[in-house]
Amino acid sequence: MDVLADADQAEITALAREFLTERLGPDQAHAVADGRAVVDAALLGRAAELGWFGLGLPESRGGAGYGLLEEIAVFREIGRAVSPGPLLPMVLAARIAVLGGADSQAEGLLSGTLRAAWAEPVPGAATVTAERVSGRFASFDPERADVLVVVTPEVAVLVPAPDGSAAVPSVDPTISTLVAELEVAPLAVLPADADPVYLRGLLLSAAALVGSAQRTTEMAVEHAGTREAFGRPIGTYQAIKHRCADMWMRTQAADAHLVYAALALDSGGKVEADLPGLAHGARSLAAEAAARNGEAVVQVHGAMGYTWEHDSGLHIGRAEVLRRWFGGPAADVDAVLASVPLSDPRTTISQAGETP
């Protein structure tokens, strides 16, 4: 048992950070938000060259042959950098196409020439089966997309992207959104019993949320240590110091649980665990950490944190979009409570909970 990053993972993290800082970081996110730039095919091609879209796929199928933990290392960095562009949909679409045997889409997605966008079913208003995708969906960045990715706990599919030109800017200024009806047959299908793509995607979204929470903690701590008020750094005041401590603590808990859930999922059933409960639990902690840290980083920075130029708004918008995917907070509550063994008599005999 060892849950700390190994040398390979540390290197992947460093490489991802280097690429993102230069090509797909907060500067580019601001440029996209201002309409001065777009994440184009060339940029997706660069990410594809780094092997990102097939990082967790076997080498024999055109992937890099890494595990879920390496993908998580990359997505943590993507979250830290608030990278614009459909990186999570691309990774999941490539997985669905490759493992679902949709070869023509697989090649385009792995090389970044085919573009994927996320479509989230509106709860109670959408139906997704291997044969048909119908009802209301919220799609994200659909304008230039070739395929939409739809992932549910039962099945993951790719469908041809309809006209997305009516999309409007979302609360994340780098991402557009469109709520619309779909009625279409899938191009590619990957059932959950063939691959846990839903749970993998859920954890990758959690990784991006954790990365965001890490970054906003750093931003707050840095500001608190240098900005002075009443003749002292504001980080000397407990109102600020304790807020920073809470930011760090939430992030640590979310990250530790994310790694635990990912290792359990990656063990292929060797580690006894309720995987949906674990993965949704990890996502809910990550979503809370990112959202609460977003509030805190604005407060620590004061009015400066409320400006369009500051990174706070990017992190806040991104967290609010990402946490609504994969069924949102309600799905977390349901999956987590379903993991409690209601009939287990052992749960009633422990004598824990006394205060020493």
Binding site: M1, D2, V3, L4, A5, D6, Q9, L69, V221, A224, G225, R232, P233, G235, T236, Q238, K241, H242, C244, A245, D246, W248, M249, Q252, A253, A254, A256, H257, V259, Y260, A261, L263, A264, S267, K270, V271, L278, G281, S284, L285, D332, V333, V336, L337, S339, V340, P341, L342, D344, R346, T347, T348, I349, S350, Q351, A352, G353, E354, T355, P356
Partner: protein
């Protein structure tokens, strides 16, 4: 990176599970007084005789000399088996003894550690004073060297189980001329020495959990000073790091069982509007899902801190976070339990197997004991994040 335990670890787990299945006492643990001490000591002795006491303690002190990973496995199986809370032995077994393995002399270790593991010695902590709590270095209890003795005069407070303890490990001021942190000494005091008066204090949870201890020229052999005269602050910090870092490992592991029990409770009771199950109420479900997730996160954090400990050899200041995280989670659990039980759950019930109100009240202490939540956040802010003091 690997979540799986080695085959040797798994064998250890099976052996622990087998032993616990037939040896865990089934009588409820007495909540107070000499009966409580007798119960706690007998159960500790049974673990010692079975070869299970002090899993990660060095073998020369009577422990098993195994890794922290094995210690974790033991705690996991202990919780799974529903074994009793360690109670009055917490301070000696979970962090006082371990502090002595680091800071004590061979003579001190030989005199106390085997007795602690056999359940023969109960320790209580004497750090706080009426005028020095969070600001620990402001303590005033004096220790004056007189020949080969330290003469102690002053008052300690909030000492858990001092009324039934044998030893009080205290921080006393031995040199008032030096700067506040540099004139303190960590000393182990026999509570039966003349000049000591112990007065239990009743808590809002209605038990006599902690005490005031008055010192009136109590004479303590200098041989009971741990870590050297005037070096007490360093020993105290090492003690507190252990208390905040690893002492609560068992509580972290068992928290999940407590949450599970509350979920079972919520599944068997009507909801707050009298319709459906309490578990189906959106507010209750949200609270319980949060607690279940936090319980999982506590395990994940334990795994992370043990992985770090195995690599670096010492717990770090991030233990303050674990203590805080667990303490606040236990408070939320208490509140959620009161919501689940509603108007039918307002009777005061001390023992948690029979109700939840005692649990709710007891955990008001969880953000004060072992350092207040405010102090823990200061430690995280300053020692982990590097914010200015």
């Amino acid at each position: 990176m690997d979540l799986a335990f080695s085959p040797e670890d798994e064998r250890f787990r099976e052996q622990a599970r087998d032993w616990l299945a037939t040896n865990v006492p089934r009588d409820p643990r007495p909540q107070e007084g000499p009966e409580m001490r007798e119960f706690d000591s007998a159960w500790q002795r049974r673990q010692f005789d079975g070869g299970w006491a002090g899993v990660s303690w060095p073998t020369e002190h009577g422990g098993l000399g195994l890794s922290t990973v094995r210690q974790l496995i033991w705690h996991e199986e202990y919780a799974r088996a529903g074994a009793p809370y360690i109670g009055s032995l917490f301070s000696a077994v979970n962090y006082g003894g371990p502090a002595l393995t680091i800071e004590g002399t061979p003579e001190q270790q030989a005199a106390h550690l085997p007795r602690i593991l056999r359940g023969e010695e109960v320790w209580s902590q004497g750090f706080s004073e009426p005028e020095a709590g969070s600001d620990l270095a402001g303590l005033r209890t004096r220790g004056v060297v007189d020949g080969d003795e330290l003469v102690v005069t002053g008052q300690k407070i909030w000492s858990s189980y001092a009324q039934i303890a044998d030893f009080h490990f205290c921080l006393v001021r031995t040199d008032p001329e030096r700067p506040r942190h540099k004139g303190l000494t960590w000393v182990l005091i026999d509570l039966r020495s003349p000049g000591i008066t112990v007065r239990p204090i009743k808590t809002m949870a209605r038990d006599l959990h902690f005490c005031e201890v008055f010192y009136d020229e109590a004479r303590v052999p200098l041989g009971n000073v741990v870590g050297g005269l005037h070096n007490g602050w360093k020993v105290a910090m090492s003690t507190l790091t252990l208390e905040r870092g690893t002492a609560f490992m068992a509580d972290q592991v068992s928290f999940e069982r407590t949450v599970d029990a509350l979920v079972v409770e919520a599944a068997s009771r009507p909801g707050p509007r009298g319709t459906g199950r309490a578990l189906d109420d959106a507010g209750v479900a949200r609270q319980l899902a949060d607690l279940k997730t936090v319980a999982g996160a506590l395990r994940s954090l334990s795994y992370r801190s043990i992985s770090t400990l195995e690599r670096t050899g010492a717990p770090g200041p991030e233990g303050s976070m674990m203590r805080l995280y667990l303490g606040e989670a236990n408070q939320r659990l208490g509140r959620a339990a009161m919501d689940v039980l509603g108007v039918e759950g307002l009777a005061f019930v001390a023992h948690w197997r029979k109700g939840w109100s005692g649990h709710w009240l007891r955990h008001f202490a969880s953000t004060i004991g072992a350092g207040t939540a405010e102090i823990q956040r200061n430690v995280v802010g300053e020692r982990v994040l590097g914010l200015p003091r």
